[in-house]
């Protein structure tokens, strides 16, 4: 076990740029952009710090804007206390807080973390792509730079080495990106909640927002685990090609997965949606985009009995778990095992 952990530490150090630095940099950029957008969003809405300062000093009318409401122009204004008021065309003035009913606020508590998650998931989405490149080079690059001769002088089996590369790149790499995504989500959601408070919307419970965020994370973590299971045969294939390919392992691994079905479509496809050959040829690509596990997962938010939107965690986890009942999942795992073993055998029999 100590050897396996050492191999993982080594592989993480080897691929630090792609697996560790990249998600952190993407998260940092996103957070900076969000922070910037939060501040400049105020400006676009007529509430930039300069305008607000002007309003505070009773100089001019910069801290307000006119929007088109259903029955005429309404004036949206930021008061001296920073809170927003809306004056309707009939002259009635309400605070923004008064303009939003409690049910909508409750809905916001569910929708807000989903909206921020859509942005925060970017590091993970990019990690899903970047690990394919890292994996394609995993067993190829050590032959290319001849370091395989050093690592093979260590008493470690080829199967251990190959498995450790897969675990470190796919497992640790993806779940580190998930951790970064969660931290980013906390930050962006926190910013959003603070912004709501800042413009005077009360009654939004940060605790409820973050509880809903935690629900999303649990779905994301379980979903990622199941996704890795579905995509494992593709990862195994890429690892095997990496062990074998004399050059350009990424092209060698992915060209057959996309070129063959495209060629088939060009030559033999007659528009039949149930073309079993074509479906089989697209199967690896489908697994990579998580198609088998996301069927029926379109509803992330649904109204509860009292018509307040909610995140149905149990149902979502149930739907994800149901995909494990498909024979294709377990057949895929067996195929993945075959590819991983083949990769280790290729590595065992050829040093360079």
């Amino acid at each position: 076990m100590n050897k396996f952990l050492t191999l993982i530490r080594r592989d993480m150090a080897d691929n630090r740029g792609a697996l560790v630095i990249t998600p952190i940099v993407i998260a940092a950029i996103l957070l900076t952009v969000t922070l910037f957008a939060t501040l400049t969003g105020n400006a676009r809405f007529g509430f930039d710090p300069e305008d607000f300062a002007a309003a505070k000093q009773h100089r001019g009318e910069h801290g307000q804007m006119i929007i088109d409401a259903e029955n005429g122009p309404a004036t949206v204004k930021r008061g001296l206390d920073g809170k927003i008021t809306i004056t309707s065309p009939d002259g009635e003035t309400k605070t923004l807080d008064q303009a939003i009913d409690p049910k909508t606020k409750a809905g916001l508590e569910a929708i807000l973390p989903v909206g921020t998650a859509a942005a925060a998931v970017l590091p993970l989405a990019i990690a899903l792509i970047s690990i394919l490149f890292v994996l394609a080079g995993a067993l190829h690059d050590e032959r290319k730079d001849r370091t395989i001769l050093f690592w093979k002088s260590m008493p470690v089996s080829d199967l251990q080495t190959t498995s450790a590369k897969l675990v470190s790149i796919v497992g640790v790499g993806l779940f580190f990106a998930l951790a970064v995504t969660i931290v980013l989500h906390v930050a962006i959601t926190g910013l959003a909640v603070a912004t709501l408070g800042n413009v005077g919307i009360t009654g939004i419970s940060a605790a409820t927002v973050f509880l809903n965020a935690i629900k999303l994370w649990s779905v994301l973590a379980v979903g990622l685990l199941i996704y890795v299971g579905w995509a494992l045969p593709v990862y195994g294939w890429v690892t095997m090609v990496s062990a074998w390919a004399p050059k350009m392992p990424f092209v060698a691994a992915f060209a057959p997965l996309f070129v063959v079905p495209l060629v088939y479509m060009a030559i033999a496809y007659r528009g039949d949606d149930n073309d079993t050959i074509l479906n089989a040829l697209w199967e690896p690509a489908g697994r990579l985009i998580g198609e088998p596990m996301t069927n029926g997962m379109s509803r992330i938010i649904e109204p509860s009995n009292d018509h307040i939107p909610a995140i149905p965690v149990t149902e979502m986890l149930g739907q994800l778990s149901n995909s494990l009942a498909q024979p294709g999942f377990w057949i895929g795992l067996a195929v993945a095992g075959g590819f991983i073993y083949a990769a280790s055998e290729i590595r065992r029999r050829r040093a360079l």
């Binding site: 050897k3 050492t6 080897d14 002088s153 008493p155 089996s157 065992r348 029999r349």
Partner: protein, 282 residues
């Protein structure tokens, strides 16, 4: 009886139609320093790769009683090898590399490696890519010498190094690794440099072993003598392996001819491995 560490019977390796190593029989006991000598592409590295389980092969091969191809991981607890100076991961820091080797090799003494590196100019927090060739060899050597192995295999270990580093390298092997229970196998082009430390020589030519003998046997069996032009016919009657004319004299190399017979031409002398290699290549 001396323990045999490496035993090969009919060991061969083909790359497609090319026979890189022709069927070879070998027995290498403990307590030897073996030089594997041959031209580029002769099959030296192929032989070492087979011994180290780095490539598949035909025939029977036992290293430390193990099948190298099937039991490489277990074998590497007993065998240490340095392929050449360019095999350490350039992206790694020296200290990290030592940590990983400590985690991977149960017979690695990390403190010993660090102590050795502290006597050099290598900084532990340096990256390998920031080190000179000589420093990289120091790191590799520190790792290899801190592993309690029975067999040390060196495949052109000093390629590209200057004379000072080359000599220091072999001195360290002799003083810090070699003893009667261990064996060192070296392939190198710099035959003259390793010759003084070798106890055994294996010549390979076109994938075939042309000589497999201890240095004592080489010294007894092969003799060279300078012959004047008027004695050439007489000397050639003794069927020398090789003759080289230079400055009015011809140097002949003989195999298995008694020194007394050769004394009629001049004082017979020991043949250097480089000359012997050329002689056997004729």
């Amino acid at each position: 009886m001396t323990e045999v560490l490496i035993s090969a019977k009919g060991l061969a390796k083909n790359y497609g139609k090319k026979q890189a190593l022709k069927p070879t029989n070998l027995e290498i006991p403990a307590g030897r320093i073996v030089g594997v000598i041959g031209a580029n592409g002769a099959g030296k590295s192929t032989l070492l790769n087979c011994l180290l389980g780095l490539s598949d092969y035909e025939g029977d091969l036992q290293v430390m009683g193990m099948n190298p191809l099937m039991q490489r991981a277990a074998l590497m607890e007993q065998v240490c090898f340095i392929a050449d100076v360019a095999t350490l991961p350039r992206w790694a820091k020296v200290a990290d590399l030592l940590d990983w080797v400590a985690g991977l090799h149960p017979k690695f003494d990390q403190a010993k490696a660090i102590a050795r590196l502290k006597t050099t100019t290598v900084q532990l927090d340096s990256k390998i890519k920031a080190l000179s060739k000589g420093m990289i060899v120091q790191v590799h050597l520190a790792i290899a010498l801190a592993i309690d192995a029975r067999i040390l295999v060196l495949d052109e270990p000093t390629l590209g190094l200057d004379i000072v580093n080359r000599r220091g390298f072999y001195d360290a092997i002799l003083s810090d690794f070699f003893d009667e229970t261990r064996t060192v196998i070296i392939t190198t082009h710099q035959v003259d440099e390793v010759e003084p430390i070798l106890s055994h020589a294996i010549f390979i030519r076109d994938g075939a072993v042309t000589l497999d003998a201890s240095m004592d046997v080489v010294t007894e069996r092969f003799l060279a003598v300078d012959v004047l032009d008027n004695q050439k016919a007489e000397a050639e009657a003794l069927r020398p392996l090789y003759g080289r004319s230079l400055l009015g004299r011809t140097t002949y190399v003989f195999d298995g001819v008694a020194p007394e017979q050769l004394k009629t031409f001049g004082e017979p002398r020991r043949v250097g491995l480089a000359d012997l290699f050329v002689a056997l290549a004729q």
